[in-house]
C-alpha cells in the first residue's frame, strides 16, 4: 500500500529529472530556466513574500467558496426538491455556468474596482455552478421509497430537508465542493494577475516583469501544492462526513 502510494510521485520525479537535465545541457539560458537549487533558495530568501501572497490567495478562495456554498447548497436542495423551481431555473443555470468566470473580470473591475472584492466575486461565481448542479443532482438521486417513508410518517418539510434530502445529497455536494475548490483556485490565480495587487497570481506576474523566473517557478510549485492539499482536505472531510457510505459504493481496483 505504501509502495503504491509512492507511485503517485513517479511523474513528478520524471519532470524533476527532465528539468535538471534541461538545465545541465543548457537547453535554455539560466535567466529563463533556473536550476532547481536556485528555485529552492526562493523558499529561503523570499519566504516572506511567498507566504504572504499564498495567504492572501488562500483567504480569498476560502471566503469565495464559503459564500458560494452558503448560496448554492440551500438553493440546490430547493431546486432538486421542487419541480417548479427547477423549471424556472434550469435554462438560466445552463447559460450562466457556460460563462468562464475569467471572462467576467472586465465587468468585475468596472463594478467593484481593484482589490479583494472582484477576486472574491469571481471565485464565488466559479464555485457556485458546480456546487449548485451537483447538489441538484444529489437530491434527484434519492431513492423514492425513502420519500414515501417520510410522507407516510407525516414528517414536516423541514425534517424531510434536514434528515433526508440533505444527507442523501451530501456525497454529491462534496463532489461539487471538490470541483468548486479546484475552480476557485484556478480563478483566484488568474484574477490576481489583473484585479488585485497581492496573491500568488500577482506575485508571478510581477516576477515576470522583474525577470525573476525562479520566483515564477516557485510560485507555480506553491500553487500546485496548495491545490493538491485543498483537494486532499475536501476528500478527508467527505470521507468523514459520509462514512455511512463506506462499503456502499464501488471502489476502483
Amino acid at each position: 500500500m505504501q509502495f503504491r502510494r509512492a507511485l503517485g510521485l513517479l511523474p513528478l520525479a520524471l519532470l524533476f529529472v527532465a528539468w535538471h537535465l534541461a538545465v545541465e545541457f543548457k537547453v535554455y539560458p539560466p535567466i529563463l530556466l533556473p536550476p532547481p537549487s536556485k528555485v529552492a533558495m526562493v523558499f529561503v530568501e523570499d519566504w516572506d513574500t511567498v507566504l504572504s501572497n499564498a495567504g492572501a490567495s488562500v483567504a480569498r478562495v476560502i471566503i469565495g467558496i464559503a459564500l458560494s456554498f452558503l448560496f448554492a447548497v440551500p438553493l440546490g436542495l430547493m431546486i432538486g426538491r421542487y419541480r417548479l423551481l427547477d423549471t424556472m431555473t434550469d435554462w438560466s443555470i445552463q447559460i450562466f455556468r457556460s460563462i468562464p468566470p475569467i471572462s467576467l473580470i472586465p465587468l468585475a473591475l468596472l463594478f467593484l474596482g481593484i482589490g479583494d472584492k472582484p477576486a472574491i466575486a469571481l471565485i464565488f461565481l466559479a464555485g457556485t455552478w458546480p456546487l449548485l448542479i451537483n447538489t441538484i443532482f444529489g437530491v434527484r438521486g434519492i431513492e423514492r421509497t425513502l420519500i414515501k417513508v417520510a410522507r407516510a410518517a407525516r414528517a414536516s418539510e423541514l425534517l424531510v430537508m434536514k434528515d433526508i434530502i440533505l444527507p442523501a445529497a451530501l456525497p454529491a455536494i462534496f463532489t461539487g465542493l471538490r470541483l468548486a475548490v479546484g475552480g476557485g483556485w484556478l480563478t483566484v490565480v488568474t484574477a490576481e494577475m489583473i484585479a488585485v495587487k497581492s496573491g500568488l497570481g500577482y506575485m508571478i506576474l510581477n516576477a515576470q516583469l522583474t525577470f525573476r523566473s525562479d520566483l515564477i517557478i516557485a510560485g507555480i510549485i506553491v500553487i500546485g501544492a496548495i491545490g493538491l492539499l485543498a483537494d486532499q482536505l475536501v476528500r478527508r472531510v467527505r470521507a468523514h462526513v459520509c462514512r455511512w457510505q463506506e462499503g456502499l459504493t464501488a471502489s476502483p481496483e
Binding site: 431513492e143 421509497t145 425513502l146 414515501k148 417513508v149 417520510a150 410522507r151 407516510a152 410518517a153 407525516r154 414528517a155 414536516s156 425534517l159 434528515d163 433526508i164 444527507p167 442523501a168 451530501l170 459520509c242 455511512w244 457510505q245 462499503g247 456502499l248
Partner: protein, 253 residues
C-alpha cells in the same frame, strides 16, 4: 370495533403514456380491527396500489377509503407502512432509523429512545443499534423496518411484500416473528403477497386479486389454527383452491 378499514367503490386509473391504465376497479371491502388480512395476487393486479392508497400515499380516482372511521386524505396517523425494499435511511444508524417515525411526530428524544429500545428488543436487534443498514443482512434490515413501523403504536400495519426479497429460511423466521408480534400488539395487519403459502401461513382472511383491471376475485376466510402446518390436509386443500382462483400459473414464486 367493526369496519376498521373500509373501501367503497375504490378505483385507480393512471394516465399512461398512450392511454389511461386502469389499475383497480370497484374495490369494496371492510375489515375489523385486529384482523390479519393478506392481499394475494399476481404482479400487476393492483394489490400494492390498493395498499399504497390505504397508506394515503396514492389517491383513489374513484370511491373512498376510511381508516378508523376517518376518510383518508393523505397518510393517516393510525397506520404505518413497511416496504419490500425496507426504506431504511442509509445514513442513519439502526437506532435513528427506528426513531424516525416518532421524530416526525415530535416525540421527545428521551421517550423516543425508550420506545425504540423496546421495539429493537422485540425484533431481536439488540446490540445492533449503532450499525448502519448496509452492515445488516436483508432479514435484519426488514426487522428494522418493522420495528420502525411499530413505534408509533399504529392501529393498522400495512405491509407491501415485506418478505418478498428474502431467502426462504429468513422469510420463514420473519413470518413466525411477525405472527408473535401481531398476537402481542393485536394491531390490524394488511399484508400484500404473491405467495399462496405465505398468505395461508399468516392470514385470517385472504383477498384474492385478479388482474386487468385489478379486482377482488374472492374473499376467503382461513379458519386453520396457528401455528399452521403446510403439510396438513386442510392447508393443502385451501392452497389448491387458491391456486385455481389466482390463475392458471401453478405458483408464481
Amino acid at each position: 370495533m367493526n369496519r376498521f378499514i373500509e373501501c367503497v367503490g375504490v378505483g385507480k386509473i393512471y394516465p399512461g403514456k398512450n392511454e389511461p391504465v386502469e389499475a383497480l376497479r370497484g374495490i369494496d371491502f371492510t375489515c375489523d380491527a385486529g384482523d390479519f388480512i393478506c392481499l394475494l395476487g399476481r404482479s400487476g393486479c393492483g394489490k400494492s396500489t390498493l395498499l399504497q392508497m390505504m397508506a394515503g400515499l396514492e389517491t383513489p380516482t374513484s370511491g373512498q377509503i376510511s381508516v378508523a372511521g376517518n376518510e383518508l386524505h393523505g397518510p393517516s396517523p393510525d397506520a404505518a407502512i413497511v416496504f419490500q425494499d425496507h426504506g431504511l435511511f442509509p445514513w442513519m444508524t439502526v437506532q435513528k432509523n427506528v426513531e424516525f417515525n416518532m421524530k416526525a411526530r415530535g416525540t421527545p428524544a428521551a421517550e423516543r429512545r425508550r420506545i425504540a429500545e423496546r421495539f429493537i428488543a422485540m425484533t431481536s436487534l439488540t446490540g445492533f443499534e449503532g450499525r448502519y443498514p448496509h452492515e445488516l443482512s436483508g432479514g435484519m434490515r426488514q426487522r428494522v423496518g418493522i420495528a420502525r413501523a411499530l413505534t408509533t403504536d399504529p392501529k393498522a400495519l400495512l405491509m407491501d411484500e415485506p418478505f418478498g426479497a428474502l431467502d426462504a429460511q429468513t422469510r420463514g423466521n420473519l413470518q413466525d416473528e411477525l405472527l408473535q408480534i401481531w398476537e402481542k400488539q393485536r394491531t390490524t395487519v394488511l399484508f400484500v403477497t404473491h405467495s399462496i403459502d405465505e398468505a395461508l401461513l399468516l392470514a385470517d382472511r385472504i383477498l384474492v386479486f385478479s388482474p386487468r383491471p385489478g379486482r377482488i376475485a374472492a374473499d376467503i376466510k382461513v379458519d386453520l389454527p396457528r401455528p399452521r402446518a403446510p403439510q396438513s390436509e386442510a392447508f393443502s386443500a385451501l392452497a389448491r383452491e387458491l391456486r385455481g382462483l389466482v390463475g392458471a400459473e401453478r405458483d408464481f414464486d
